[in-house]
Assembly symmetry: C2
Homo-oligomer: 453 residues x 2
Amino acid sequence: MPVYTVSHVQNIRICVIMVGLPARGKSFISQKIVRYLSWLSIKAKCFNVGNYRRQAASHPTADFFDSQNEDGLKIREEAATAAVNDMMKWFNSEDGVVAILDATNTTRQRRDWLLRLCRENSIEPMFLESWCNDEKIIMKNIVDVKTTSPDYEGLDPDTAASDFMKRIDKYQEIYEPLTIEQDGDLTFVKLINVSDQVIINRIETYLESRIVYYVMNLHIRPRCIYLSRHGESMYNLEGKIGGDADLSERGFKYAQKLPELVKQAAGDQVDNLTVWTSTLIRTQQTAQFLQQDKLQWKALDELDAGACDGLTYEEIEKQFPQDFKERDENKYEYRYRGGESYRDVVIRLEPIIMELERQENILIITHQAVLRCIYAYFMNVPQEESPWMSIPLHTLIKLEPRAYQTIVQRIKADIPAVSTYKEKGTSQLGESHASGNSSKNLITGAPIDKKDG
Amino acid sequence: MPVYTVSHVQNIRICVIMVGLPARGKSFISQKIVRYLSWLSIKAKCFNVGNYRRQAASHPTADFFDSQNEDGLKIREEAATAAVNDMMKWFNSEDGVVAILDATNTTRQRRDWLLRLCRENSIEPMFLESWCNDEKIIMKNIVDVKTTSPDYEGLDPDTAASDFMKRIDKYQEIYEPLTIEQDGDLTFVKLINVSDQVIINRIETYLESRIVYYVMNLHIRPRCIYLSRHGESMYNLEGKIGGDADLSERGFKYAQKLPELVKQAAGDQVDNLTVWTSTLIRTQQTAQFLQQDKLQWKALDELDAGACDGLTYEEIEKQFPQDFKERDENKYEYRYRGGESYRDVVIRLEPIIMELERQENILIITHQAVLRCIYAYFMNVPQEESPWMSIPLHTLIKLEPRAYQTIVQRIKADIPAVSTYKEKGTSQLGESHASGNSSKNLITGAPIDKKDG
């Protein structure tokens, strides 16, 4: 039984054509859009022209980007053509829905060429320009590029920065920004200084409007997101799923310890955060000793197990053997009878994610399946893996979004708890993950595609 | 247990200050925003300066609006002051959250005055300009005004139209549109030709971003929305709530008849509509004979009765007497144990409403509580009434949104069904509403505030 989300209302393919000088956050925005859409099960992919260009010119200096440099121009045009060809192949052979063409596309000539190609292939072109004259933002981006771009690998940072600024000047000479006067017949969004000002022109489809709303809500102020499951509950002790049980004695101890863990993780930002819980008792009991502002969200309630609510996995296997098997085979799509699937949870979490993008420091105390979905968004975890991730009890997770990766830290409380992790193909729950001494471990999220330049 | 929605994340008061010439749809947009926010339980009210002005000058001619007419100017300034005073009173004594100041506010001088007043009262000012040079849209608005404005009551339509055009010219002489260059430090949204182009400047709070997203999605193309409950189900026959039952024999007959009813209601638009159902069997069985494109939405599933799912009202009264009483006392807020409240349903329906605003002809086949919520949005039904509305089985409802009202038509199928309507204070279900002959009745939605001018 296929269930559609809003995104599937129209049968449409979109190419988001990025526009803007180097160091304007184009790759950052591109990667965020791909992550957001993929999380919503909308097939999206980024095509970074810089990556294609590097195959022919891996460490170019600024002169390479001079509009009078014919060799450079030829290589860059070939790179653009190769990226666009791969994009078209992807649309056609992999049923792609949203492609992002991540390149400067600073001239009308280049954009007209892309426009023609899109129209010939029945793909809706949508231009997304990042225009910025805020020196602080630009310098921050330059620092990011000089430390992360493969173009400057192994180079002295000052030399890299100075060359990169020269490169920007080369682009600046020929840059033709989008304007309503000259580009009024195109579908475009223009972001001015991140999202200080946004100009939106001829947005027509639902999916375009979602992308626009998403990028409107992005900010680049530093902040952290903290995630925790509720403390161990009476149902956890009995191996039951769902319900609205109280905390166990050990769960209560975790609640008592949580303010200290949060202080340890947040440092001087500890008073500058808001606590979000679900509407279920165990998350509120877990938050009870925190002094920060609190909000309850129905959307953060645990995945609804429907007919299986209150049962143990062994009971489910016995009473609903076919369902038990089906769920193991496709845990993301499986919807409990009268309940929800992981996909359903993602759809109801979408406003939470949008609001998280807008906010600064937030601590979310919620449930295993919900945390898996939120974690998957920030860490770009594929759908088939996310329902199987281990998110143990009595552990605080700190996420620190950076330009091209998210840094993760897991801070374990020294309070034992049962494991609620069920491995595929069994109804047995694993060993406790949270016993042992309080410890920290640092994981760096898989870095996403490097910038173009 | 207070549950917060996204809208309550920030404790903020906003004054949306409309800007634009007469006949630019300002009142239409104002009323839509108020309706949308009220439906989401965000306290919102529109203050229409024209209504205040009419107390002193009820049938003014165009000359009254000349910027050189000192008497006219004085009356208009007094009207603006009175409206603003009432607005401030409302913010303070009724805990208002979003006020809309519906007036032309065409000069920077007037807007500076409002800005100062807002800032003195800790209210965030957000300008919303409707700018339009599409003659077709303007002429349509002029026709609306001349037929609905109390200023032209009893006047010959041609005379009214000609005077109104003169009035627009008077405003045009002194109009200073918002621009990024001159108003770059203000929070504003500028809609150009409805939503062809949108310019967004310094939108900072969540609530502002929601309002912007909502107005971005509005269109004024003519269309209709058709609503139907599923046909009578086996659970309906037994008086049980919830579940995922099949249709009864009579329910199946309704499904067979539905294509004919839809043809009757939609006329030549019958092939130009899309059918939305929930994921529950009874709505899909009801849609089975319709040939139009279909989409399933989890968000359209019936209100989740949690622990009471599958029970009759009598059983609920017996097993959960306290809950039964509480629900009758505040049906909108009451959340079934482990289930949902009407408020919860409204929150999950929000994306459906947003998508309905974007779409054209849609037929929704869903459930009693969900239809009440959707109907309440379009017909501006207060929260305390909406859970008690009668939405009988085997009846097709046609909603036709017009500029200042929604026209409703109920088309009953000649197929009897049980009543599922429970009156307050009883566990008995009412008599069948849908028996008798196929008939139509026409209800006009309570007209909303008249335009200013």
